[in-house]
Symmetry: D2
Subunit: 338 residues, 4 copies
């Protein structure tokens, strides 16, 4: 950690700062500049709160040199983590995992039908929302437990593991029992209460990036889950909020090389929520696989025009199969299968 102090900081104030950090067991080096003095701290600085240091009126800026995450940090865990989702392996050099399914679960019949289509197209997991985070209290909020059970039927029919979003601690037992991959949605990425609870689950977690969260904050949310004891975390990029109006969100594919450099966890891309438009899903899926994504999560609906939510971004099964076929070719070029 590097601390710079203002021009004209009195000698005794500099000494007080040094004394305070030394009392915490840190080694302090002082560099005297022309307009500033700079301290370098060596030792375990993870417990030092930058904001508290910055409260000192003589302090000008505080810069953290080492990353604030440990368990997720590639520096301390060189090998890729491969997460096992009911037999489907995600990460490392495993096959690129394609997850497909509807935004919202609507009924058992249509869920089983889509699951069959997803499997036939080459998908390896079924996604579906039973508890839906909706901006409006007047919008359809999901079928709840009924929806989860519809997915279970679809799993029985196809063998595909199921992925669904958990919105509340209250439902943890239900998800631990029925769901194979527990999704934490973008709006809950910093619902720390929920992250702690999920950290105690045995099921792997798909952690979506928040609407406007930095990659560092995202890794810190994974760290929350891992610090609780659950190290089976898969990142999922679904676009960030920007000023652009032609897409719902801006898909940030640079997270793929960055997360692979900074962490050892897998990364899955969601082109459907990112763009909000099925016309752009194919191009963004191909791009994600080319950039090294460990998986894709794509909305698929048999009849998007009559979907109960997000029809505009859903692919029909036929189109989904075409996208998978093209992605497979790209995957092979970059040394992966799919």
């Amino acid at each position: 950690m590097i601390i710079s102090t203002k021009r004209g900081t009195p000698q005794e104030e500099l000494q007080k700062i040094v004394a305070e950090f030394e009392a915490q067991g840190l080694e302090v080096t002082l560099i005297r500049g022309t307009d500033y003095n700079v301290f370098g701290l060596v030792g375990d600085t993870t417990k030092i709160n930058e904001k508290v240091v910055a409260a000192n009126p003589w302090v000008d800026s505080v810069t953290r040199v080492s990353a604030p995450y440990k368990k997720a940090n590639r520096l301390f865990h060189e090998a890729d983590t491969v997460v096992d989702v009911a037999g489907v392996k995600v990460g490392g050099r495993e096959k690129v995992a394609v997850i497909g399914g509807p935004c919202s679960i609507e009924c058992e019949e249509s869920t089983v039908e889509i699951a069959r289509a997803v499997k036939a197209a080459g998908g390896c997991m079924l996604r579906g929302g039973a508890y839906k985070p909706r901006t409006s209290p007047y919008a359809f909020q999901g079928l709840g437990t009924e929806g989860i059970l519809d997915m279970v039927k679809a799993r029985e029919a196809t063998g595909l593991p199921i992925v669904s979003e958990l919105m509340s601690e209250e439902r943890i037992d239900e998800f631990e029992e029925y769901v194979d991959l527990v999704q934490i949605g973008a709006r809950n990425m910093q619902n720390f209460q929920l992250l702690k609870a999920v950290g105690k689950m045995k099921k792997p977690v798909l952690l979506k990036r928040g609407l406007a969260n930095t990659i560092e904050e995202w890794i810190m949310s994974a760290e929350y889950i891992m610090a609780g004891g659950n190290e089976k975390v898969i990142f999922c990029e679904r676009g960030i909020r920007t000023f652009e109006k032609y897409t719902r969100n801006t898909l940030d594919l640079s997270v793929i090389p960055i997360l692979k450099e900074k962490t050892h966890l897998p990364i899955v891309i969601d082109p459907s929520h990112a763009t909000g438009n099925w016309r752009y899903v194919e191009a963004m899926s191909l791009a994600a696989v080319a950039a090294g994504a460990d998986g894709l999560i794509i909305e698929v609906h048999a009849d998007p025009e009559h979907a109960w939510s997000d029809g505009a971004q859903s692919l029909k099964p036929q189109k989904f199969a075409e996208v998978i076929a093209k992605c497979r070719e790209v995957a092979r070029v970059v040394g992966r299968d799919l």
Copy 2:
């Protein structure tokens, strides 16, 4: 709701769209343009999901004309809502309410001491965090119930109502019993599960704006709480996330005239979290009052350099008193007291 269709949409597709909306009891007017056809829908469109309409491949764009909120909408509730927080009135032409206190509660003694200082300076409520949303799992997470009880002691000593952040449904009983104004933090603004739960509480709610949420989404979150039955909602702006690096967030004071135009609920400004720097708190407090804010929520700490969190943005009691005195003068100029 206005729907435009693509050039070359076949006649029968246009008719299908018209038939579908008419079947939902809406009146449909078709405007034929040179490159587009446009439909206008009249009637109750709140239950129509734009994204589903947009899933039709012939549809080019969907625009909602009427606002998606009702209970929070000034159009249907002309008078200002005044929220009563244990006797302190917020909103309308009432006094500008100044809430002060530490970021985190540290112990009973310091809490009572700060509460006395807040009251002496002219503050009318005490804020304090007992459950803290922290980016790092390794950072101090708050004293929990102990912190809430410390605040209760401070209320007994000073008579100031207390404000604290609720992070989990599990703590609703505790907050209903002890806390006077229940804060929903920025990171939980779209934790819809929590919003629904708070909608059933009797205590008023201070709803912070999310890091990157639009004003419309923010009003929709208030609508969630109100739709649940709790109409005592106070908005709190605490800065939004932008590219700027000299401040922690960008304080958006334009929300004051906008919320007053679109809704009837009070609006409080948090200059401390917005700027992240106590040096800028005075200027932003004066600006907020001049723009018509119904209240301010300011971090105050007796010894910011040794605060357990966010010391950099806390005012010392003496400075807090000076800020209040200046704000009072500005308030009078704009026709309010403080």
Copy 3:
């Protein structure tokens, strides 16, 4: 164009609005809603200024249905435009064009050397900055004419067409004479004076997206150049400004399918400026080609650690050759050559 008026707008005000638009030769249809009245305008609305319409105090919102661009619009020009840059064809089903070279031109010798390396690696054009837009007035501002002439030497030595940034109308003659593809930088994307001047040039233009410009504004800047008579415009995405700190900018690859839908012009991706880090250039290059980019522009430097600017994002020639080889394979999978 759709105009909605406020609840309670008097009948005579509605009539005035109708009369005003009819006087401009537009056909007006009125849709009466419960809380709003909506007008639809049919005819040539490109000259109507939304902001002026919105100045009417009875008007609530103004929505443009048809796109404000014509010459760049795919609706009126279905076939892909292929831009010829001194014999290298960009766009349509042509080869993916890879442009390589240093951020700043440093001397003739190193420029010729890099040009040879770019060509050997499979690049088809040489980029290099002679006039540099630099945040600091104290930073190196480029070699100017000398740099352009160094590039001319490199073209003579290799046959590669040259690309360089034009920052001022004063240099138009120089660029018309020597440069094959005239780059308009991100910071000048809305320097309308310069766009008009470039619209009169004969040389093709590489139009970079502004730091925080929407895709629609970007197309409108192309429209400026085309309206001036120069229809040889190539778009170049180089990342937009967001809150993220691990990359210099956020590369928005969704522009590829969007621009191909809305316009007929080619699109080139700059992964070097977007990420600001050579480690991420390969992944983003592969992603761009997979998504359908018509070209790449990549910084290459023989000795990045001693480059005069932007060394951190430059590839060494060896690495550049590897990236091209991988991109070629991806290109073939998506039906292109490279």
Copy 4:
């Protein structure tokens, strides 16, 4: 400047880095950490290019401790700069300067009429656009020289100094002759060619903040002008681009205390362009004055509904007079006159 290197950087690489900086006359201190080594550089680091340093593959991060600006830096120029605009003083403890006028100049008669209204209301300068930066090439581009001469007539009639936007070096002589305060628009904030040219002018400059530029970049643009010899720079905040849709831009009033801390130059606020809506102009004007702004620039039009541009954000003269009267009272409370 602080440079951290990666874990495992070989000893000889560390020595090479030290040697390189020492050769540039800098003093280098090395701090050895557990996972990183950190160098502190002391001396004149303004010429070191961070990006070039970062190109070294062993370097992990580069942090600049001292600000990159000198002439604009409060550290080296403690007293407030007061800029004299044809007799009207802006900055320091001078009166808050209110500039009013139309977005675009339309004709001599209306310009003189508005100038009279601005003066009668208490305004001290006349603004007006003769050269207009417009997103669309088909929109009205301004009257040009004719518009400037109309403003000159208005100055003769009222004595108000005139402010207008310069878009091109070509017009520098015209502006030097006729215009009192030369505006550089948001879209040209990083048109470095224009900044250099303006740096040689004798007239003071009103430098608008770019759509998505940081405060530091904005100060660096002022530094460009000052480095050229023209130290009469006034900053003008006009809102930044964010995701919010209810305002055209997000007005960032925190720039007021920040610029006053970091620089010695005056700061003027433009609430009209920031909000894009005349209804919000009064609240934002009062806020700006309360926060310590040195001036306001407000759009005023006698007949906004028939303005040639930006009518939606213009105040009528009567409303403008009311806003000034209220701002004057706020100014007095914060120790200024108006």
